[in-house]
């Protein structure tokens, strides 16, 4: 994996930044949809290196952040049951539901386990026939094939003690929702490379055409991201709005057909709530009728749990670049990284959490320069 260094080369990065700087003649607002890209941008300080005119708006692409409060409350309810082994990706454990998180449930005696794959949960079900094993199936198109595979396998093996709590979300309807929002400021998108490696790019030309925005399929290493930005800015400056693949080493136009077939066999499209944003039509997946027996919501009868999100949280507006985190009345008071109200404060690279950290740094250093002196959302 040494080759990764090549995608983190400062000299090449400087060249790309120079090209972006030479191309840009006016302000542009780009959104990176994927949380993995946001993470890379924050981790490498990429947003601070861009010219003033290029604003990055961190989109709703962290699956952990956008999992609705209601679903987390269902997870807490199921995980509290003594007959259940509740399996989850690690970073879901800290996301607060109403009044507690999965860590708290674990502390109170619930059997909550971190796994790295739904197939690990399947193995637990095989080895614990007297327990119910539930896997928290969250994520975008990237994690859906493996989750579909787990259910498929459970049925093949005749396992009746395995189920999924599903909260899958899909990228294209989210792009659509963002673009049709009043006062939307996004002028171009970095499309999520891993999502496209599964689904391909067929859904995107329609969006580029309808909304007149460039969509550049982008990878995750620093140079990938700078290249994605360079191409998006170049299109905007030329008045173009096409789908471009800046991540050809991982993404083919038709994606991964076997993975797509697996998703289509097990899941069907449904409306989905997004934490901090609200309901987006056709933006999620749920298990099909044929696999309903593996749906934890039905198995544990938690379909009736309804939770309203705190009204004072304005994460949805932050996610769309409509307001800066500091314009929210709850920012830094009732909403902090330790007591997050919404999606953007939950994750360490959420817009509000990142802003909170940098503002703290600059409150302590009045003469600080760099990130937080730029009029940018969220860090600069």
């Amino acid at each position: 994996m040494k080759y990764i260094d090549e995608f983190n080369d400062p000299a090449l990065a400087r060249r790309l930044l120079e090209e972006i700087r030479a191309t840009v003649t006016r302000p542009w607002a780009l959104m990176e949809v994927c949380g993995g890209q946001t993470h890379s941008i924050i981790r490498h300080g990429i947003d601070q290196l861009l010219p003033e005119q290029v604003e990055l708006i961190h989109g709703p692409g962290c699956p952990v952040c956008v999992t609705p409060l209601e679903v987390i409350d269902k997870a807490l309810e199921i995980a509290s049951r003594p007959d259940v082994i509740f399996c989850s990706f690690g970073d879901m454990l800290r996301v607060p539901g109403t009044g507690r998180d999965l860590f708290r449930v674990k502390g109170e005696g619930g059997d909550v386990r971190v796994v790295y794959s739904p197939l690990d949960a399947l193995e637990l079900a095989r080895r614990n026939p007297d327990r119910e094993v539930v896997f928290f199936a969250i994520g975008f198109e990237t994690t859906a094939p493996a989750n579909a595979m787990a259910v498929h396998q459970a049925r093949r093996l005749g396992l009746t003690n395995f189920s999924l709590l599903v909260s899958h979300v899909r990228v294209p309807p989210a792009v659509e929702a963002i673009m049709t929002a009043p006062a939307c400021r996004v002028q171009g998108f970095l499309a999520a490379g891993h999502v496209c490696s599964v689904m391909g790019t067929a859904e995107y030309p329609r969006l580029a055409e309808r909304f007149g925005v460039p969509l550049v399929v982008t990878g995750f290493e620093p140079l990938d991201i700078l290249e994605g930005i360079r191409r998006a800015v170049r299109q905007l400056e030329r008045g173009e709005h096409r789908v471009e693949n800046a991540y050809p080493r991982a993404v083919r136009e038709d994606g991964n057909p076997a993975a797509v077939r697996m998703i289509e066999e097990v899941f069907e499209v449904t409306d989905r709530n997004w934490r901090g944003i609200g309901p987006i039509p056709d933006s999620g997946w749920r298990l099909t009728e044929a696999f309903r027996a593996y749906d934890a919501e039905h198995r544990f009868q938690v379909t009736d749990i309804r939770t309203e999100e705190p009204a004072e949280c304005r994460a949805g507006e932050v996610l769309q670049g409509l307001i800066k985190p500091t314009e929210c009345g709850a920012f830094g008071t009732s909403c902090t990284p330790r007591t997050p109200l919404g999606a953007t404060m939950v994750s360490s690279e959420g817009a509000c959490a990142a802003y909170y950290l940098y503002r703290r740094m600059n409150a302590a250093t009045p003469q600080a320069t760099g990130a937080a002196d730029k009029e940018m959302n969220p860090v600069g």
Binding site: G35, H44, L49, G61, V64, M92, F140, E327, A364, A372
Partner: protein, 355 residues
């Protein structure tokens, strides 16, 4: 830049986050991050009412009978009990030896208290005890007293060991987190993240292409060789739970200074970087068991670094940054591309990321 909402007072931005958020103990309370610190500051320190404890260092330095004594204790609950590069026994000796060494002391005596779970094979206990004996010999300390308790099956996790240790602090040595000064060089004694990744690879059954071994090792002799260069070392810390990030945040907060690191100078082995990339972890937060981080006056940095590199435990030592007057209480990394990022105190345990 947008004005702060009127309700926000930056002075209070250390996130007071009261413990009442968590009415029960959660795993994060043992993670070496913010939750551990709160447990200490809000429950133990007020309950004990002892100014020596309030220093919140890895070991207490006490005046006793005319001598300056470093005193420390630590419990060890690792799973699995045996892992590439060491065992619970090695950690139990080296961990306490290193806590003493971080105040500049020469460790001398340890105690060892075992809590055994009914049903554990005696050969397991024997292997751990032998590992402790060997580690004590290597570190030049004697295990002078001990205790054993047994709990019923299902009420423990096999074997827990608690060690305490004492050592003498040489005259003229005053090493504690409060002594960090702007201008100090920040030095790490070798590659980071090996212990945490080695444990994780065994625990989760993950392979990263190479056999990773824990870095568990006693550091008292390395510290002695550093003190031979200059007694004026300001701060030493072994970045165990919470990794380099937690150690540096604690020092920054205790001394009201800032820390600025150069990302490309931090020695991260390829295998650690790959494992962390795969799991979505940050090497800065991953535990080490045989590394130290030192704050030394800039005038002494070069010589201290040379002395460290001449010692087997410091062969991979590197200058990774400096202590600054800016952003007091915060750690900032200058990234390889020229940007900056804030490295905050971890809340509890680091969690693998999904995206």
């Amino acid at each position: 830049m947008a004005e702060l909402a009127e309700t926000v007072d930056p002075a209070n931005w250390t996130c007071p986050a009261p413990l009442r958020d968590q009415p029960v103990v959660v795993m994060g309370h043992g993670g070496g991050g913010a939750l551990s610190a709160e447990l200490m500051e809000q429950i133990f320190a007020p309950a004990y009412g002892n100014p020596t404890l309030a220093a919140l260092a890895d070991s207490a330095v006490l005046e006793l009978g005319g001598a300056r004594l470093a005193f420390s204790t630590d419990s060890y609950v690792v799973r699995p009990l045996f892992f590439p590069g060491g065992s619970l026994g090695d950690l139990a000796v080296n961990g306490t030896v290193n806590d003493l060494a971080m105040s500049g002391a020469r460790p001398a005596y340890l105690s060892a208290a075992f809590v055994l779970e009914e049903g554990v094979e005696l050969t397991v206990v024997e292997r751990i005890a032998r590992a402790m004996g060997a580690a004590a010999e290597t570190a030049g300390v004697a295990i002078a007293t001990g205790d054993t308790k047994v709990v019923e099956s299902g009420h423990g996790d096999g074997v827990y060991v608690t060690t305490a240790g004492v050592g003498l602090v040489p005259d003229g040595v005053d090493i504690r987190p409060q002594r960090a000064r702007p201008g100090d060089a920040v030095i790490v004694s070798g590659p980071i993240g090996l212990h945490g990744v080695a444990i994780m690879s065994v625990r989760e059954g993950l392979e990263f292409g190479v056999e990773l071994a824990s870095d568990t090792a006693p550091l008292a002799d390395l510290v002695a060789s550093m003190l031979a260069v200059t007694p004026d070392i300001h701060v030493l810390r072994d970045p165990t739970r919470g990794g380099l990030a937690a150690a540096l945040n604690e020092i920054a907060r205790a001394s009201a200074t800032g820390v600025r690191l150069q990302e490309r100078a931090i020695p991260v082995p390829d295998a650690v970087a790959n494992a962390c990339g795969f799991l979505g972890l940050d090497p800065l937060y991953v535990a080490n068991e045989g590394r130290l981080v030192a704050f030394v006056p800039p005038t002494e940095a070069e010589e201290v670094l040379s002395a460290m590199r001449a010692h087997p435990q410091g062969a991979g030592a590197a200058l990774i940054g400096e202590c600054v007057a800016d952003h007091p209480g915060m750690v900032v990394v200058a990234t390889g591309l020229g940007g900056t990022r804030v490295v905050d105190l971890p809340l509890g345990e680091q969690l693998p990321r999904i995206c």
